[in-house]
Symmetry: D2
Subunit: 348 residues, 4 copies
């Protein structure tokens, strides 16, 4: 079989770099272009010296048209607002597109424009976009040319909560998500907030009540519920490289035992390659999924308050970004879903 020709626009951010790493080792992918706004013309291994003697190619400028002519699929790993101005109906006729940014994740344009505070530049093609959460939208992903790859916090939160919402096990107005992320989630941008001595030895909440992953989680959970869902989402910055832990609180709609919820989770995820349901009294820790495409999920019934505490853990750069994007690519090209992303988590 001929290899899939792959281009990456935004290849020098952390998500882009993780794409390069995984695709380089993917048996059916061939990297044809690493494009970068800031580093065009420079060797990739000069920007990321882990690629010395592996990927010494020069970075291309971020021009999507010429790339669409030679690539079978383009991954976009760009700040919000850029993908929607680059991707056009014509591009989508030439090649498939997997966007790791936010532009095509929200189907409701008004919600996008309210939370992102910019006009949406790609309204015409937005309806073609499929939300690339493979475990829930597998069939649609297989058929589309445009995948909106979910955000990192959102992947972890939605995977953890969806079965409970779909089965009506939790009260929809009671959902609170307290999520924690490693620093790579903040990207490679150079600012005081990312300085080692400012981040290390501290923890903080940020974007309290205003983080843009909130409407994304809400929209997806609304599909599960059939009615609009509004929830509270609080992200935190943790002094570590990788990993997201989403701790989700909700009031149960009736009495449920741990086993009851296990039955629900098992029904949805029992056969999922990348979701691991943990035994009772065991909870996810980010170290056990690092470097892998797994999402670990565990839960506890707090009988005293009739709440469930459901916890999910992923590697933000893999299942929360590049790994899931490749999972989407595999689906779009009829490859085994886990091809190239079956790595065992790396510990320690």
């Amino acid at each position: 079989m001929e290899k899939i020709k792959v281009g990456i626009i935004g290849a020098t951010g952390y998500a882009g770099e993780e794409l390069v790493r995984l695709l380089y080792q993917h048996p059916q992918a061939q990297l044809v272009s690493l494009a970068s706004h800031s580093y065009a013309g420079q060797p990739y291994s000069g920007i990321y010296p882990n690629y010395r003697e592996i990927q010494d190619v020069l970075c291309d400028p971020e021009d999507i048209e010429p790339l669409a002519e030679k690539a079978d699929v383009i991954f976009l790993a760009l700040p919000h607002g850029l993908a929607s101005s680059k991707v056009t109906a014509q591009i989508l006729e030439q090649c498939k597109v997997i966007d790791l940014g936010a532009d095509f994740r929200l189907q409701d344009v008004s919600v996008y424009e309210k939370w992102y505070k910019v006009p949406h530049e790609g309204k015409e093609i937005l309806p073609q976009a499929v939300y690339g959460l493979c475990e829930w939208n597998r069939d649609a992903i297989r058929k589309t040319s445009l995948v909106a790859n979910p955000g990192c916090y959102t992947t972890c939160s939605i995977l953890t909560l969806s079965p409970l919402v779909a089965e009506g096990a939790i009260q929809l107005d009671s959902i609170i998500i307290d999520a924690k992320s490693g620093v790579s989630g903040a990207g490679r941008s150079v600012k005081l907030d990312n300085h080692f001595a400012e981040v290390n030895e501290s923890i903080k909440a940020y974007g309290v009540g205003t983080h843009r992953h909130t409407p994304e989680i809400e929209e997806q959970l609304s599909y599960r519920a059939g009615v609009p869902v509004y929830l509270t989402f609080t992200p935190h910055l943790v002094p570590m490289q990788r990993g997201i832990l989403a701790v989700c609180y909700a009031t149960l709609t009736e009495k449920y035992s741990w086993e009851d919820l296990h039955t629900i989770y098992e029904e949805y995820y029992g056969k999922e390659r990348f979701i691991r349901l943990l035994p009772q009294n065991t909870y996810p820790e980010t170290r056990w999924v690092k470097g892998s495409n797994y999402c670990d999920i565990g839960w506890k019934i707090d009988e005293r308050t009739n709440r469930v505490i459901a916890i999910g853990a992923i590697d933000n750069l893999v299942k929360g970004a590049a790994g899931q994007a490749i999972q989407n690519m595999n689906l779009m090209f009829d490859l085994p879903e886990d091809m190239g992303i079956g790595q065992v988590p790396m510990f320690p």
Copy 2:
């Protein structure tokens, strides 16, 4: 004025060591005994080499009787179940006692025995114990001989939530506390869970639905509310040395603005030396209180869900343990409340 003679039982744990550090520099305290179960007979500076040439004294065994004869106040920093068997009515006639452990924190013995799964050994003197949260129990602390110094998570959580509970601003059955702690909170005990390579580069929840600080927070908030309070509390381990961040979620009883809550907080804490109320859209970070006795508090109204997210931050070893214990000592001996604990937070 003659200095206060101070003994510490359990001086070689992290809380004990922080007591030594702060009391050594306290203008009115004189350390007369550093007692340790594991290290009796060894020089203190051999166990903690930061004390070389500062505290080379040998550790005493943990015998409370002889210590009670020579000390004006004894600090106990012991695993739960030990303090209640050591402190007796007779000891309390000889000297004051400040217990940093859990044994005298819960006035309801049945709750203690349920959560700690051991019989309470000090039932007779328990009623004398005053919960040493200075900002709320100042007068009682001044008059007692036995202070139960609050736990680290509990100090941060109770300080953050108390004004809202006391003023009826939040629904009592809606409280969820998602708290995060540095590793010193786990103590100096040697076990795989504390191994650097197991803790570093990961975050996890633990004691989910079962952590023993839960009933302590509930009991204190019940005093504020006048009725029993039950809540959900989830602690987390964060790869850093010090610091606790308590993120508290609750549904508001009616519409409140940020300013409304500021008025409430200001009423209770406006004149407190060790509580800092942050400006709007600013939230506590543990780095800004490290090494100090401050508790920083900030909050956000999530209008979409009518919840408040109230966040507190402390240094678990200072305001969450040794610093607050000395604040209690200062009150018990009619000293300025901030004597010896007014350090500026150390950053970075």
Copy 3:
């Protein structure tokens, strides 16, 4: 081709666990036994939950005889002194052995016994052992049944210094190695020295003048030099998971330019798959080799003192342990040398 049947004795230490990770993904290896002294009878994924649904097999006891009957190769990852009592001439007739411990690394038994302070239990088979530094002993490794896999510090130090020693570019009595390691190098043993709060936010030298990797480096460099070499070696503990940086100082025997030394390095390593020579004024950093089998090498001529500062970096668990062990296995079984260990370094 039938897969190689592989057994691991000592599978639950960090090096053993890394072997499991890499071998599980090796296209020609089949794990037939994971043996553990402490955890025999327990599921592997209970000890290392990153292996949930991947390696749920129960651990075997550490009996080498039955394993030798069913395995083609046995990896030993044990504390020193154990391998030499397990491996016998008979075992070596049944299967190949790759020992990640120290017992077969030093050909001079008296040196072993002096530095390790125990009698050597395997003197008879010691002469069969080949020091498994692939880049230098490739042919002998291909032919032997017993490989002594080099230590982590030693791999990095010897690879960095060998060309300079072999070419007579440095004075043999002037060599000083100042090496730094991540904490996984200390193993998973539970002791105060490995406690997060003791290791984090600090750096220390240890084993100063007495570390057991010293004679191993000396013996190997002596082979390069043709005469005995004695040097100073100082290891350090750095608060990070993985990685070794070996900074080697030596006086040059005559005037050399950077390019001169590049010519020397290029001669020895120019075609090596796993050694990367860095450009001038660029130096290795452990982050660029993490999770990979690469050894990066860079150097500087300090003209003012006529010294060279030659620096090497590896991942201690990969090139410094499990990766190199598999590189040896590949050689012993006539497989492509990089099979299963060609991972791109994972960053961040």
Copy 4:
């Protein structure tokens, strides 16, 4: 006694901020101006929120003239090249100056200009400058108006090596210093090199053979030796907030025992308040000096190579910057040398 009026120019870098912290708590100092190039006009506690309710004063612009009129002493914590253009003979007639930068540390202007690659702007007043290494230049410091506060690496290196050099115990051409620093030593400047995800989980050497602290160490050791000293100095970046470990290698001029060197060290440092000589087989670790003005020193005789490995540890922001600067101030104002800087090291 009236308090000393203190101004700080460059108060918003890490060294400046540590000055504020220590001086705020100094019993004889009164801060009269916090000057900052970048943040003039902004409240200090907005830039460093640990100072909320402690130092809410607005930052001044960095004008030295008006400050010299109201201050008794000015601390300068500026990038190199700035102090020498600000400090004039006239300023020095008005007030004392303690410069934490490099401009007045090297008495040989040509060496300064060679290593710093800028012309020296303060040649006229340079001869007045006293190198503020209190343990060696105490008397001169007492009499001068201009102190050049030593660099962080240099303080640690010079203190560790000076007695051995002064006593002729080591060969002058054999000195190699391998030093390691926490990230605060890199300052608060915003650049990719300081990004958490780039620094964390890695170690690197930098400025190999070219670091500007090299000539500073050489000049001071030359004073000890009476002849010029040239040495090799390699700094490293370690993923931690604070701390410097200087590991110094040198060949002994004859046979020395550990005790012999102890006698030498004791002679020079036996009565020094801030230098702690460690017992045999014990070596400095940065955690034991964190937050304090101590320099811990230990050493090992490597008999096999007749070298000494002498190791020093300091907190780079205290003894390596702000603490030592205040020690200098105390000397200049005839205060007890340890006033305000006698803090017990903070651990963990």
